[in-house]
């Protein structure tokens, strides 16, 4: 197996809210074209991890993206231009704007640096999510839950991400839609997009991912290839058992 270059790596990443340490010495690594998942219970620090990577929260420790250490003063805008894009748990769509306008705004960072090829990207996004093409002129606020998640992902893809970070994409969705969303996540790999997938739905996440981390109370409790993790008795008991979340 050839080892692909690392796109993102954290070394001893710590995040504190005041005196409370939410993340303690996190080391995660994502290779190009890989899907890496971070699973774990509510409050384990999964969203905090994504927010700190995105520069939305101050952190200590080292974050290297595409081989370059990101400074503490990293701004979201700069990261988006460099292809690091987050789809947040709350989707954060522009509810009073049309689906197409939402997608267009996903390409804002590209537009700003003079890249005018976003219309083609929009066709690709419509290819991945035909539903969005049907709903093109509809206001984002009137979409169903599944369509909202599709729009949030489509909008992020408009930025031509190299690493797409998805925060709980299955949250609040019906099982059939969840299957559809994960099918698309798997498809992203073929498009050459690396994915960092944060999920409570451990079963679905481990099925689609190459590698997984289990985050518990702010620390990495376990990590391994996702196939191995899925067979690990501790994971089965805590996250995949019948009592686990679906």
């Amino acid at each position: 197996m050839t080892t692909k270059p690392i796109i993102l790596e954290t070394t001893d990443l710590c995040v504190s809210y005041g005196r409370v340490e939410a993340l303690h010495k996190i080391n995660v690594r994502i290779r190009e074209g890989e899907i890496v998942t971070v699973i774990g219970p509510n409050g384990a620090g999964k969203t905090t991890l994504l927010s700190s990577l995105m520069g939305l929260l101050p952190s200590r420790g080292k974050v290297a993206y595409q081989g370059e250490t990101l400074g503490a003063g990293r701004t979201v805008e700069a990261l988006v231009s460099r292809g690091l894009v987050l789809v947040p748990e709350k989707r954060e769509l522009f509810g009073e704007m049309s689906v197409e306008d939402n997608l267009l705004l996903g390409a804002f960072a590209r537009y700003r640096r003079g890249d005018r090829a976003y219309r083609e990207t929009m066709d690709e996004v419509y290819g991945i999510f035909p539903r969005l093409r049907e709903r093109r002129t509809q206001l984002a606020g009137t979409l169903s839950g599944g369509e909202r998640q599709m729009l949030a992902m489509g909008r992020a893809l408009m930025a031509k991400p190299k690493l797409l970070m998805l925060d709980e994409p299955s949250l609040g969705l019906a099982p059939l839609i969840i299957r559809e969303i994960f099918r698309i996540v798997a498809h992203l790999r073929e498009l050459g997009v690396s994915v960092l997938l944060v999920e409570q739905n451990a079963r679905a996440a481990l099925q689609v991912a190459d590698y997984g981390y289990v985050l518990e109370t702010g620390e990495v409790a376990l990590e391994n290839d996702s196939k191995v993790l899925a067979d690990d008795p501790r994971v089965i008991e805590s996250y995949l058992g019948l009592g686990g979340k679906h």
Binding site: M54, G95, L105
Partner: protein, 346 residues
């Protein structure tokens, strides 16, 4: 009261109302994007009018040195930030935009035969001096506290308003000025007579409103501003920087303010402090629109203009009282009909 007087009052009211409508649009825009209640909006009217008056008198307007000074301060702040973020490569661009361009403009204003230039060029020079003040003021006064509460931003606005008012007195003195009409004379259609300047005001206002509408509906930067107003976090995650959105909305507000001053100064004598009252009347319109709706805000502003012209006919001494009293029933009506979203979110 006969038909003629009605026509006159309506014409007067709609003309002033058009200006208030422009100001109310700027207020709604700035509030939606930055949550700033932009009290200094009116100062841009006065600065625009008085800068144009200075240029027409053949003098380099003192505001251009204010522009250079603010530019130097903004450059200082940006360079400090760039150094801290170890992005020193941006320093030449920062210096060029904030200091180079204002100095070049100051140079042009020193040597050009200002008084004899055509009106269009004089207006363009006025806008070049006054409009960049908007984003620079945002950079210096608001950007460092952009995440603060609406109340704190309001207090900053009061401070900026008082500072600009005092500087206005210093730059232009206490005397008022009136600039000549764009076109002298009036147009008679049947029994009605229209001042050309009123037609200019209404026409250009309509054009500006259409232009703003097209900007927000058709351009990606306009959509980015709307997106910031709708969902700040979502916009940020798409790489729409809050700083950029703030500066852009302040630039638009300054443009609208300065343009209003240029339009209105042939029909009203403008003093350094005249803008404040005009801004407040625009604010009444904006409040009628709930600081959120552009069409209702501009209709409300036209209503304010009409109310003002009728009350100056019937009860001249109470003109301002009547106009500002309008805000009370509007607030009562709004507090009864608006439901409070903030409370539901928590």
């Amino acid at each position: 009261m006969d038909f003629q007087i009605h026509l006159l009052l309506i014409q007067d009211g709609v003309t002033n109302g058009a200006i208030y409508a422009l100001l109310s649009l700027a207020l709604v825009l700035v509030f939606a994007v930055t949550r700033v209640i932009f009290i200094p909006q009116g100062e841009f009217v006065a600065y625009g009018a008085l800068t144009l008056a200075a240029i027409q008198a053949g003098k380099a307007p003192p505001t251009v040195w204010f522009l250079v000074a603010l530019g130097a301060a903004a450059a200082g702040a940006d360079i400090w930030q760039a150094v801290r973020e170890s992005r020193g490569s941006r320093i030449p661009a920062i210096l060029g935009i904030n200091l180079g361009l204002p100095l070049a403009l100051a140079g042009i204003l020193q040597v050009a035969p200002l008084a004899t230039l055509p009106l269009v060029v004089q207006v363009i020079l006025t806008l070049l001096v006054v409009v960049p003040l908007g984003p620079m003021i945002y950079r210096l006064a608001y950007q460092p506290v952009a995440e603060a509460t609406v109340l704190l931003l309001l207090i900053v606005s009061v401070a900026v308003h008082l500072a600009l008012l005092g500087l206005g007195l210093f730059f232009f003195g206490a005397e008022g000025t009136r600039t000549p009409s764009f076109t002298d004379g009036s147009l008679s259609i049947g029994p009605a007579t229209f001042q050309y300047q009123s037609l200019w005001i209404i026409g250009i206002t309509v054009l500006l409103i259409v232009g703003l509408f097209a900007f927000f509906e058709r351009t990606l930067y306009g959509k980015a501003l709307r997106a910031t107003a709708i969902n700040r976090t979502g916009a940020k995650l798409m790489g729409i920087s809050t700083d950029m959105a703030g500066k852009l909305s302040f630039a638009l507000a300054a443009l609208v303010g300065a343009f209003s001053g240029v339009l209105v100064s042939p029909v009203t004598t403008i003093y350094y402090d005249t803008g404040f009252l005009m801004g407040l009347k625009g604010f009444v319109g904006a409040i009628i629109g709930g600081l959120a709706s552009y069409p209702i805000a501009s209709l409300g502003a036209v209503m304010v203009g009409l109310l003002e012209s009728y009350s100056s006919f019937w009860a001249s001494a109470y003109k301002e009282v009547i106009v500002f009293t309008l805000i009370i029933p509007v607030l009562v009506w709004r507090s009864l009909t608006t439901h409070h979203v903030e409370e539901e979110e928590h």
